[in-house]
Symmetry: C2
């Protein structure tokens, strides 16, 4: 059976994927076009729509009391806005030439084709699952979807012991370490790299390690996991590395994600070096007038390096959806690119980065200077003033800001936004030294830490250029 | 007696004023030039150097336990760095043609002339003292200097009652209201304007009033103070307006400040419409090769309006001092101007503004649209998420950002830095909608409140332009 487009005399938009990018696109298109003008059909293979995957660690940790708080809009709410949503229905093929998709109802197994005039691909990302013994054993959990989160909570509820091992020390790894600490677990984080938070330079990552160790978390660096140990009941009971074994009542995998683009690849759509779909500024798939893509399944232009990257973040997915929906609905919007901003925390330690790390700058042929300073988030004499380390990279000679990393307590994370805007504007670190940033003793020293870093970086630029 | 410059074969720098701008200039010049190359003489009429006047409300309120915490560098520390500091010595005349200043030792009354090769004027600002009965009575306090703060604390220590009236509802007024609340006082704030915080638009100021009322502070708007009431002992016992009388055991004046430029005016140096010294980009007094000025006694270029303003803020004073010291020392630095960023708080209410208010934009001939949105500082589901109102002004047609005001709880104040950088860079609100700001549930909703405001403002620009 094929459901043909244009049945109502209007066009049909098909959306693959019911989370941030897909449903933002559908919702924005619906704001601009009536159901008579544009029929919208959206396929979601899971049980939920429009939820905050970024919130899962806080649900698991108990900060968020129940799952439904993480759902921004339910299937019923979408349907009430005239979006034809098919839950538990997986698109298994895109027929680009035929302008149609094949979908499988996961309940009944029934397959059908649906024609489209316009197509939005928002298939998201899939967690990296290491190929090793025991990786699929009960008690081993990813935290990508709400179903994953529920499964992990179920395991925690019945775990006999209180030992947790987190594999991976990126954002998900450190956030899950916090969640498990809050649940009363003894937490070990096993990390392949030399320091946690590989999205930071190692010197800044080591600050994170020190703080996490101070929180009672056992940090194991330079450790390649070789397998998950299982007990007589088949459940995970530990994590093995080349050198050691770490007993565990629960294992959480936070190794990262890859774009979910098997469908797109099979359909011959253009993929980049990171496996993500390639789009133009309007989020249209390159070379395809009627197909858009956004969210975790695409690559985005890094405005600092000039190269494509893959960044799975809800904030980008929402922006993509907004841009796609506007364009699909006949408006005009673009997504110019990213500067690579990310913030996170482990208990009261805040971690932020934007722009290029040292190795990123090397890789794209940029010569640079670095400056690292220590300051405080409030005036030194104001109660609660606590240390903050800011590292800044600036291009040799031109002094153009290339990146900023911040590790500290209160006020560290969102301070990186100053640098994110400066990167977008192409500012030099010398130009940044006179930025008129908010100052009052409860919020900043009289020289904001970012200004102090900019002054030092500007001095480094002058020294290195002379 | 005249102390002649060049006694050591080098030059002599004379600095008038020993606080932020003056001593930053002196310190920076000293880093660049040895005592043999540049003798530095600094005159300070008060008892303290290099202190944080911005911290006085927090000292009075008890957050900062003692006065000395507010002093960044003592006279002894400056002298140890070969800065010839003359405390309690007031410069009473600048002889520009003669390249010399006359100073009076306030202890002995002795006067003397000191020659200079280079002069830095950093005479600061003086608080506005209304001309009305009782304004100088005991129990009436400004909070401009450390001596003022100590006098206020002395009054609080012996006050019989617990009623405080604050005159003025700008930054100093609201910060002092918080300080007095913390000291256990019943606080009344009497304000000439229609809402507190005249540095905000009235609609945003009303949010501040509501919050302050909620804190138990009595807010009296549209009230012109006609006199300070005094008791039989001559001490202040109340504040009279045209309509009412407010009993008080202590009265705090927070009406604002004016540039302290009587010396400069008498010397024929160029002053602007706000009474502040006019300088060039290098902080050199216009038309005077050997005289620099910075801090609260100068006017600064507002980069958004293109006109001069007077803004008394420690963060600018420190930047001016740094620039002056660099230039005096033979280096190169500029202060391009400000965008008018200011942040403050009353208990847990944070208040921020940057750029132009509606009336500022009108006054300089800019037509604009406004957008006001409500959001939260964290993801809505994350504990502690609290409301935040963001108002944005953008230029008609071009969509250039003109100003942002934010009132809210945690995370409201420093979010204004995003707009401060965007203003400096001349961004449009449409361009701001794709800014790559830090997102994680503890720090921001998936759409940062500033992005939400930018989206709405961009839509307003499109609508108004069509």
């Amino acid at each position: 059976m094929t459901m043909r487009a244009g049945a109502h005399g209007g066009e049909r938009l098909v959306v693959i994927g019911g989370d941030a990018a897909g449903m933002s696109a559908a919702s924005q298109a619906r704001r601009l076009r009536t159901p008579a003008e544009l029929e919208i059909v959206a396929f979601e293979r899971g049980h939920f729509t429009s939820y905050s995957a970024c919130g899962i660690p806080y649900w698991v940790g108990g900060d968020v009391p129940d799952r439904d708080r993480l759902i921004a809009r339910t299937p019923e709410e979408h349907r009430a806005r005239d979006i034809g949503l098919r839950m538990r229905t997986e698109v298994t093929e895109i027929d680009v030439a035929g302008h149609r998709v094949r979908a499988c109802d996961l309940g009944s197994g029934a397959e059908s084709w649906t024609s489209y005039d316009k197509l939005v691909i928002a298939t998201g990302a899939r967690p990296i699952r290491p190929e090793m013994p025991g990786a699929d054993a009960p008690g081993v959990h990813g935290v990508q979807t709400l179903d994953d989160g529920q499964a992990l909570l179920d395991t925690l509820a019945r775990a006999r012991g209180r030992r947790a091992v987190v594999v991976g020390a990126g954002y998900i790894g450190v956030e899950m370490a916090e969640a498990l600490i809050k649940r009363g677990y003894e937490v070990t984080v096993v990390n392949r790299g030399g320091a946690p938070m590989a999205t930071l330079d190692p010197d800044m990552g080591r600050l994170v390690r020190t703080a996490m160790t101070g929180l009672g978390i056992t940090m194991v660096d330079d450790a390649e996991v070789t397998g998950i140990l299982t007990g007589d009941d088949g459940r995970a009971c530990g994590v093995a590395t080349e050198d050691a074994e770490y007993p565990a009542d629960v294992v959480v995998l936070g190794i990262g994600v890859r774009p979910e683009t098997a469908l797109a690849r099979a359909a011959g759509l253009p993929l980049g070096g990171h496996g993500g779909l390639l789009t133009d500024r309007g989020m249209r798939v390159r070379g395809h007038e009627d197909i858009w893509a956004g969210g975790d399944c695409v690559e985005v232009l890094d405005l600092v390096s000039g190269q494509e990257r893959h960044i799975a973040l809800g904030t980008h997915a929402n922006k993509h959806g907004q841009v796609i929906g506007t364009n699909v609905g006949g408006g005009y919007a673009t997504f110019p690119g990213v500067v690579g901003t990310a913030v996170s925390k482990v208990c009261d330690l805040e971690i932020a980065r934007t722009g290029l790390r040292e190795k990123d700058a090397h890789r794209v042929g940029l010569r640079f200077v670095t400056a690292t300073i220590e300051s405080t988030g409030r005036a030194g004499y104001y109660p609660g003033a606590s240390p903050m380390t800011v590292k800044m990279l600036a291009e040799h000679r031109t002094g153009r800001l290339l990146g900023v990393q911040i590790v500290g307590r209160e006020g560290a994370a969102k301070r990186v936004d100053i640098a994110a805007v400066a990167l977008t504007a192409g500012m030099t670190v010398d130009g940044m030294t006179s930025l008129d940033l908010g100052y009052a003793p409860p919020f900043s020293p009289v020289w904001d830490p970012v200004l102090v870093a900019a002054r030092k970086a500007a001095a480094e630029v002058r020294t290195s250029a002379s």
